[in-house]
């Protein structure tokens, strides 16, 4: 390639050299054309990628620190209780690590190789520049295929980042297929140390009458960026029940494109964000009702402290054919400081006439009457605040159907935000 590199791609210059493979070349061309989005791009109005500028992201080697990785797994609560018994796939800096993984009991699982980036996939490298970057640079990832009628149980997928002085970036490409009537519960945990970019792309196919429960726990390093893009297609009576918990990273975006492709399909894109200091967390989704009688549900709650900023963009597109659509969307924020901020952009685009779609948003602070009531019963202020925050999140965390996954999420949230002695 001799075309000049877009400024926004400068951090990846080295990695983008010498790309081979047709899908990769096509994606790179698209990328050259657009660069990474800046805030003039409508969908990126509230989230800036300036955080990436000024760094040079290296391609990580396969070496990793095993003791650190094990300590990280333990710190995430993955070494004890029910979750410790699950089959697990552990990646460090985007490379699969067999030593840390347990593949016993795992159903049809293989690994992504660059030649699999075929055009038949759901990924839209032509539309989403970060997906294009992934397509160009992806070298690894997991491919899980649950056969027809099989309940594949629970699987744990872990991504750990390890960066020292050099910033690294890794761009895994995962895909999950659940065939007709099959079932799977997937818990994806993302964490790490140091300055890195984790840019995963995940494709999800839920066939007729199949069910996929998918919980993503984003607890990346404070110095990291997590920019995730997920594409899901759900067929007749299939159910994709997803939940994202965002507590880590300096900059994060969880972007979901879900298509209800056949009738009576369901999708749930729920989540919570609990952010502090100068963290920026973005949950963006586009749900397309492309068939009649489908259901979409979305409840997102944000707890933002200090100067943290939360973004919620939720688009629900109901095509003309999608009569009897049942859509619900709610975004709520609890601001713990005067400098915290939430930007919410709900967007309903409805072309069918017989639909039931509701959406709403609330923003508020902790309730003084409630705090005083609890303190008057002897509960110290810090603990009282914590109880109210937990109660706010709890109601949504209950939507996580997989109990093991729910407990892991709660544990990690509690460890990251221990009760303060003083209160604020």
């Amino acid at each position: 390639m001799s075309a000049p590199l877009a400024v926004t791609l400068e951090p990846f210059r080295k990695q983008l050299e010498g790309v081979s493979g047709q899908p990769q070349k096509t994606a790179l061309e698209a990328l050259h054309h657009t660069g990474l989005p800046d805030r003039r791009v409508e969908d990126w109005k509230y989230t800036s990628l300036r955080f990436l500028a000024g760094s040079v992201f290296h391609k990580p080697g396969k070496n990793y620190d095993s003791a650190k990785a094990r300590a990280a797994l333990a710190a995430l609560g993955l070494a004890e209780g029910a979750v410790a018994e699950l089959p697990r796939l552990v990646f460090v800096n985007g490379h699969f690590v067999a030593d840390l993984s347990v593949t016993k009991g795992l159903f049809a699982c293989s690994f992504y190789t660059a030649d699999k980036a075929e055009p038949g996939s759901l990924v839209r490298s032509d539309r989403e520049p970060l997906a294009a970057l992934n397509t160009v640079l992806a070298e690894n990832g997991v491919v899980i295929s649950v056969p027809e009628g099989i309940d594949a149980g629970q699987v744990l997928l872990v991504s750990l980042g390890q960066a020292d002085s050099d910033a690294v970036s890794y761009h895994p490409r995962h895909s999950v297929h659940v065939a007709k009537g099959g079932k799977l519960s997937l818990l994806s945990v993302q964490a790490g140390e140091g300055h890195y970019l984790h840019n995963p792309v995940t494709e999800v196919f839920v066939a007729a009458e199949a069910e996929l429960r998918h919980v993503t726990l984003q607890a990346e390093s404070d110095a990291a960026a997590n920019l995730s893009t997920l594409y899901a297609q759900i067929e007749e009576r299939g159910n994709y029940d997803s939940f994202v918990v965002g507590i880590g990273a300096a900059l994060s975006r969880h972007e979901v494109h879900a298509c209800l492709a056949e009738s009576f399909a369901q999708v749930h894109i729920n989540g919570v964000q609990r952010l502090a200091q100068t963290q920026h967390g973005d949950i963006t989704s586009v749900i397309t009702h492309a068939a009649p009688d489908c259901i979409s549900r979305q409840t997102v709650r944000n707890v933002l402290d200090d100067r943290a900023r939360g973004v919620f963009q939720g688009k629900v597109l109901v095509e003309q054919i999608a009569q009897k659509t049942d859509g619900y969307q709610m975004n709520q924020a609890l601001l713990l400081s005067g400098q915290a901020e939430i930007d919410a952009k709900p967007q309903l685009e409805i072309y069918a006439d017989d639909v039931k779609c509701s959406h709403g948003a609330t923003v508020g602070a902790l309730d003084d009457d409630q705090l005083f009531y609890m303190r008057s019963r002897g509960v110290p202020e810090g603990e009282a605040r914590q109880i109210l925050i937990d109660a706010f999140l709890e109601e949504v965390l209950e939507l996580i159907g997989d109990e093991t996954a729910r407990e892991v999420c709660k544990t990690v949230i509690a460890r990251r935000f221990p009760v303060s002695e003083e209160g604020a």
């Binding site: 005083f372 009531y373 303190r375 008057s376 002897g378 109880i387 109601e395």
Partner: protein, 256 residues
């Protein structure tokens, strides 16, 4: 003078939409240990405000006066410190806490207070036993312990829940702000018995009420009439009947 509770020249105001509003205008009140006093008075006279100021609500600004409680300067203490020191306020309008389990909250409160008092915390099993027994004595269904604090409780259920909290927190001084309002006759008796059970030389109470009825069950040592932010008259328990018959007109005229 080190009385159990000594309120002297207490003035407090609130900032209501940018306007300073004087509510307490020189409250003087002494409650000795082991005594139960009652406050009666017209709506809006400042009874609840006094109870909030004593409990430490920050919306009210104390402009002058003092409150000493067991020899300590009460107004200097945080609300949770006052609770640990033995003060309890049963709210006129108990606050709902959605998403907060009632039994868990009770345990958190009881253990916070025990910790602050240097007592050992109760474990889950022991606590549950204690709380179930206490709830039963107050005629509360066990189901109310599993629900969220005050959420969807009827008026009377909320008041019983306040008395349950009081029973478990073992205060040395309780303020009951119209805990009798909204209670049926049976509940009234149960609540009164709850207070009676606490009566001892180490326990004092301030009962705010509009109804003579409660004072038939909990016979107070003194009754005070509050109007326009001050105590304008004090007397023995017989005052309740007089107020019931004649209203406040006479006292108001005398005070004017």
């Amino acid at each position: 003078m080190s009385q159990f509770l000594d309120i002297s020249g207490l003035n407090a105001r609130i900032d209501a939409d940018g306007q300073e509003k004087e509510i307490l205008r020189g409250v003087d009140l002494v409650i000795p240990p082991g005594e139960v006093h009652a406050i009666m008075g017209p709506n809006g006279s400042g009874k609840s405000t006094l109870s909030y100021v004593l409990a430490g609500r920050e919306d009210y600004e104390v402009t002058s006066g003092s409150v000493s409680f067991q020899g300590k300067d009460l107004l200097e203490m945080e609300p949770e410190e006052r609770a640990a020191a033995g003060l309890f306020l049963a709210f006129q309008s108990p606050v709902e806490l959605p998403g907060v389990n009632n039994a868990n909250f009770l345990r958190t409160a009881v253990n916070a207070v025990r910790r602050a008092r240097g007592q050992e915390e109760l474990d889950a099993v022991n606590f549950l036993k204690t709380v179930r027994a206490a709830a039963k004595e107050l005629g509360m269904s066990p189901d109310m312990l599993k629900r969220n604090v005050n959420v969807g409780f009827s008026g009377g259920e909320k008041k019983r829940n306040e008395v349950l909290q009081m029973t478990l927190l073992q205060p040395s001084f309780a303020i009951l702000d119209e805990t009798d309002s909204g209670l049926d006759v049976d509940a009234l008796r149960i609540v009164a018995e709850g207070v009676k059970r606490l009566r001892s030389p180490q326990f004092s109470a301030l009962v705010i009420t509009h109804h003579q009825r409660l004072l038939e069950y909990i016979v107070p040592d003194r009754i005070h009439v509050m109007a326009k932010g001050r105590i304008i008259h004090s007397g023995g328990p017989e005052l309740a009947q007089q107020i019931d018959r004649e209203g406040y007109t006479k006292f108001l005229a005398e005070a004017a």
